[in-house]
């Protein structure tokens, strides 16, 4: 009897070891998360349930440390993109909002973690905190009130809309600005990776800066959490930086390279988003398979009606296609030695935008179609589908939304010049 483990996953590229890491997360989720999953929506404001669970995954299961170098207390697991995809998939099968909170903890650290551009000086400073026995969480603060998409659309906007400024004063950066929505904002994060400009309105890409700011630095303040349609396990608030001073060395790399590795972060973000879509779809597959097997309509199981079978087939096809595509690109990201493209190259940034678009549309369709065939039960909390339905819409809205994702993808494939 086929199950979620029978969907495509190339064994040549995803070893049993990595698959097993995913299964540890799956088992943990079964024991610890599923029993409270239906209560997470009410926890949106204070994260009384979520925070201890974040610690279990990031600290006890070693997910934070998995990405950091051994020298600073990490386990330095190679083929990072594949690992992120497996974790993203398994996590989102349980709760995509919780998973984004987990993965976004290390997301802003990737510019200094990933090889070949590790910044060991900063890793020696921050690594032991992320890899220690206390919960230490990162947050990637890009979006601003004016337009999140404009900030991520660096190829065309060239950073000119970034309002958060970083001015060098002696050997310190002075940061002023306002970020909004970042995953793990509010009281969750201990360290922000902040997208800034060193010259407001500049289109010089060297002025794009990515600077680390400890959440307890003087002048940092946060607003209350936003109540959203879903993804309650992810806290999203405003963050204000008012004359915040951090050491000069807290800039990830420097002119030019900050942007380069920011783009690499976008590639990884696209991949993780697609993986989360896949995880949600796999759980929907489990839910709808059980439902249409047990529900008897017109004298036979619901799945035995041709219209329903066609819809079920579509769900499986979307899962297969998304999974195959994810692992193909993950391989490309992990092995520039084979494919000749770096994860920060526009080729991969824009191509993975296409994958993310596909996966986000697929997950919406899959959730909606499953709900169609569960009738009112799909819409009720008890059956776990409606949460995925609400949460998964957001997978397509972040990181610039579908508009930017499709535009950037077309920019690559069709050599767009004006968009």
């Amino acid at each position: 009897m086929p199950n979620i483990d029978d969907f495509i996953r190339p064994k040549e590229w995803v070893s049993d070891f990595v698959t097993d890491i995913g299964k540890v997360l799956r088992e943990w989720g079964k024991d610890k998360y599923l029993p409270v999953r239906q209560n997470i929506d009410e926890d949106w404001k204070h994260h009384k349930i979520v925070e201890p669970l974040l610690k279990e995954v990031l600290v006890d299961l070693g997910i934070n440390a998995a990405f950091f170098p051994y020298e600073v207390g990490g386990t330095d697991i190679p083929d990072v993109c594949t690992l992120i995809c497996i974790l993203g998939e398994e996590g989102a099968r349980i709760d995509s909002g919780f998973t984004v909170a987990c993965l976004c903890s290390v997301w802003p650290m990737l510019p200094i973690i990933l090889k070949p551009h590790r910044n060991m000086k900063l890793l020696e400073e921050f690594g032991p905190k992320f890899c220690g026995s206390e919960l230490y969480v990162g947050c990637n603060a890009m979006t601003e009130p004016a337009s999140g998409a404009d900030i991520e659309n660096v190829d065309r906007m060239q950073g000119r809309t970034i309002q958060t400024t970083a001015k060098l004063d002696g050997d310190q950066w002075v940061i002023n600005g306002h970020k909004i929505w970042p995953t793990n904002s509010g009281d969750t994060a201990n360290l922000y990776g902040v997208v800034c400009t060193t010259k407001k309105g500049s289109t010089d890409l060297d002025d794009f800066a990515f600077i680390y700011v400890p959440a307890d630095a003087k002048g940092v303040s946060v607003g209350g959490p936003y109540q959203k349609a879903g993804m309650a396990a992810d806290m999203n608030t405003d963050i204000w930086f008012d004359q915040v001073r951090v050491p000069q060395r807290y800039r990830a790399h420097g002119p030019g390279d900050d942007l380069k590795y920011f783009k690499e972060m976008i590639t990884y973000g696209n991949m993780a988003t697609a993986a989360m879509c896949l995880g949600v779809m796999k759980n929907v597959y489990e839910i709808i398979k059980k439902w249409t097997t047990e529900r008897i309509i017109a004298g036979k199981p619901l799945k035995e009606h041709s219209m329903v079978a066609a819809a079920l087939s579509d769900i499986a096809i979307n899962i297969e296609a998304t999974s195959a595509w994810i692992h193909m690109y993950a391989r490309e990201v992990d092995r520039p030695d084979i494919y000749g493209t770096n994860p920060w190259d526009d080729t991969l940034v824009h191509k993975t935008r296409g994958l993310s678009t596909f996966a986000c549309k697929a997950v919406e369709k899959v959730c909606s179609s499953a709900m169609d065939y569960m009738g009112s039960y799909g819409y009720s909390r008890e059956f776990d589908l409606e949460k995925h339905w609400r949460d998964s819409k957001m997978l397509g809205l972040w990181m610039g939304g579908l508009g930017l994702k499709q535009m950037e993808n077309a920019r690559y494939w069709y050599e767009l010049e004006t968009l």
Binding site: S15, D16, F17, V18, D20, I21, K23, V24, E27, W28, D60, L61, G62, A65, A66, Y70, G73, T75, D76, I77, P78, D79, L83, C131
Partner: protein, 140 residues
């Protein structure tokens, strides 16, 4: 210098683990409430004529026993690692990373992955200690 694999080599690795503060510190919970012993199966090739087995009993950050075996016998270790001599050699030499070898399926590790993840720092330290002393190799 000990030949890898041999009982002399096992003795050296045992000493290396037990004298390495990173192993002792990060492994203090290893094997306390679960079987933390390892059996390494090294398959032939690259100078090794037949399959060799190496058994390591590890608890609380200390290697209690490390010995060559003729076969798996009745041992049911917590963790079973299989790989070829040709793949193990560069790890022991410090030229290749053991964790990378596992992630990329050069080595197959069977056992409770939850324990590995919760104690990943210990596995890292243990893997690093393997290449902390000089050896001789078969087939070279």
């Amino acid at each position: 210098m000990a030949i890898y694999p041999s009982q002399e080599w096992c003795d050296e690795w045992k000493d290396a683990m037990n004298n390495d503060p990173a192993c002792v510190e990060t492994g203090k919970n290893w094997g306390l409430d679960f079987p933390g012993d390892f059996l390494f199966e090294i398959t032939p090739g690259s100078g090794l004529d037949k399959t060799h087995y190496m058994y390591a009993d590890i608890k609380g950050g200390k290697c209690l026993e490390l010995k060559m075996l003729d076969s798996q016998g009745d041992k049911k270790p917590g963790f079973y690692v299989t790989g070829s001599y040709g793949d193990f050699k560069p790890v022991v030499k410090g030229e290749k990373d053991f964790i990378e070898g596992i992630v990329r399926a050069l080595f197959i590790m069977k056992g409770d992955m939850g324990k590995i993840m919760r104690n990943a720092k210990y596995i890292r330290a243990m893997a690093a200690s393997i290449s902390s002393f000089k050896n001789e190799y078969l087939g070279e």
